[in-house]
């Protein structure tokens, strides 16, 4: 990495994701407990900085100033950097990226990035309003825009321009739900979905059915990042932060340009690959932002796994499954795990660490991985955040 000193991911853990009988604060406590159990060498005093990925605690939990709130829940007293990162659906990766920057610059040596989101609240209509204000609420939200109709339009255009089938959409959901069946922390761990069953679920926003959409989910996750020279104190399998890229190119839907060519993702992934010194063909596995089935298909194309328009065939041919080219979303994805906005990006990094450590169940273990990519989009795919990790072996 060309920027600052080296940074390593040395461990992490997630809570159970789902419709949880637990508050925001309780989820933060659970994530803290899980992190310290997963990284036994880590002490509270080691942690000099805390980055809290939280998209909408004001809306869903009526709580602001959540960085010190989370620190107290987790038993931490940060002395270098404490801050919240908010980037809607990418708030978690934003916390990791900020922790990385703080360590690379020398401001921090040992930083925890935690993501927490509580989304299931007594009034789901209020929750839907909160999701609508991720958009330009006065000019888009007021028309009734939330994520499902926006991504439905992406799917409609992809189907129109490239002939992508409903079956290809369902294939993404089927693959990620199958991976989720090996992840006990996934919201849909114990639910099985095949393409036929997915095709019978109710339509949310045509052409997208319930199984094409990630869920409103409660959950939290935490990782610890350290300066390279400290890494072996915490793990035998440190994972190097090898590259990163980010791009934001519009906000209001009027200014989206092409719905099927995610220019921002091409920029963000290009920058991440350049900074890591690798290309898409080098990847062994990837955690991608499958907030909707169509998202994963467009992402294959923009990240460079396949040509524009070929994303549907890519998943149908099994090229993103175990044994394929680049295994995508072994954790179960947002579709299988649920999507607690702030926690998702952190949970993806936990999967990256666990894959490199070789301790995930065989049903989803990638054989001898070396390079991994993590992608999050946020909002109406108007911001893209990408990180590339290198395993030790």
């Amino acid at each position: 990495m060309s920027f600052g000193r080296g940074v390593a991911l040395v461990g992490g853990a997630t809570t159970k994701f789902g419709v949880r009988a637990a508050t925001w604060a309780e989820l933060a406590q659970e994530a803290g407990g899980a992190l310290f159990r997963a990284v036994p060498a880590l002490t509270r005093a080691d942690v000099d900085s805390l980055f809290v990925g939280a998209a909408e605690p004001e809306r869903f939990a009526f709580q602001s100033h959540v960085a010190p709130f989370a620190a107290e829940q987790m038993g931490l007293a940060p002395r270098r950097v404490i801050q919240r990162t908010e980037l809607a659906c990418a708030s978690g990766q934003s916390a990791i990226r900020s922790a990385y920057a703080a360590i690379a610059s020398g401001l921090s040596d040992v930083a925890v990035a935690v993501g927490v989101e509580k989304m299931n609240i007594p009034s789901m209509a209020e929750a839907n309003t909160s999701m609508g204000c991720v958009m330009d609420r006065a000019w888009d939200g007021a028309h009734g825009a939330t994520a499902p109709p926006f991504f439905a339009m992406v799917a409609q255009r992809h189907q129109l321009e490239y002939g992508t089938s409903d079956d290809a959409l369902a294939a993404v959901s089927e693959k990620n739900h199958r991976f989720a069946n090996s992840n006990p922390n996934a919201q849909f761990f114990d639910k099985t979905f095949d393409r036929a069953k997915l095709g019978r679920l109710p339509v949310v926003a045509p052409p997208l059915r319930l199984g094409d959409c990630s869920s409103m989910t409660d959950g939290a996750a935490a990782v610890v990042l350290v300066a390279d020279e400290l890494a072996t104190k915490y793990t035998k399998t440190p994972v190097r932060v090898a590259g990163t890229g980010q791009y934001a190119d519009f906000h209001n839907l009027a200014n989206a340009g092409s719905l099927t060519d995610w220019v921002g993702l091409r920029h963000a992934a290009g920058e991440a690959f350049r900074s890591a010194g690798i290309g898409p063909k080098d990847l062994d596995f990837a955690e991608m932002h499958d907030c909707f089935t169509i998202s994963e298909i467009v992402e294959y194309e923009a990240i460079g796994l396949c040509p524009p328009g070929a994303g549907g065939q890519y998943v149908l041919d099994g090229r993103s499954s175990l044994g394929g080219d680049v295994v995508v979303n072994t954790r179960g994805g947002l579709l299988g795990c649920g999507h607690p906005l702030g926690a998702t990006g952190i949970a993806q990094a936990v999967e990256v660490f666990d894959q490199f450590e070789g301790r995930v169940p065989a049903a989803r273990q990638v054989p001898d991985p070396h390079w991994a990519l993590v992608h999050n989009l946020s909002g109406s795919a108007n911001v893209h955040s990408v990180m590339i990790y290198e395993g030790a072996s």
């Binding site: 007021a142 009734g144 926003a205 009027a254």
Partner: protein, 176 residues
Amino acid sequence: MAGSSEAPRRRAAVLAPPEPAPPKSEPEPVKKPAAPLPFLLDFFPLEDEKNTRLAAFFRNLKEGRLTTTKCRSDGTLAWPPRVVCPQCHQADLDWVDLPMVGRIYAFSAVLMGAPLGMESEVPFVVGLVDIPDVPFRLFGRIVGTPWEQCHVGQKVRAEPYELPDGRVFYRFRTVG
């Protein structure tokens, strides 16, 4: 960007005519609940001079005109309307009329998961509309045709509608 070339530019032509009661199969026009939503749950912007420097947009809309700002310095046409040009950062902007007629570029419908206050409007159609001669599309609610019968390329016309508290907003109505 594709779009219709027959957009009317005269004010009189764009006022929505009085409408007959819609047939049963047609989506209901957008209605807001009688009880106002708390401010932080209400998507619709406050539109008077006390609250925004874009009050002219809503005054123009009440007259049946869909307008936005154009920079006097570099000609940038922006959406949504601005108080500062996003290109040259000058604050000297004019209000100009947008074409009112365009064609659907993409659409979907909300069949579940509507925000608070919009639940009774389900199912409703939203879409991105290509309008001619501007560097953006317009997003909005589309009324007049059930979602099952809407199609990409369908002609729509922008129209104002009034909220129960007197505020005004815009939507699209399918033409023909």
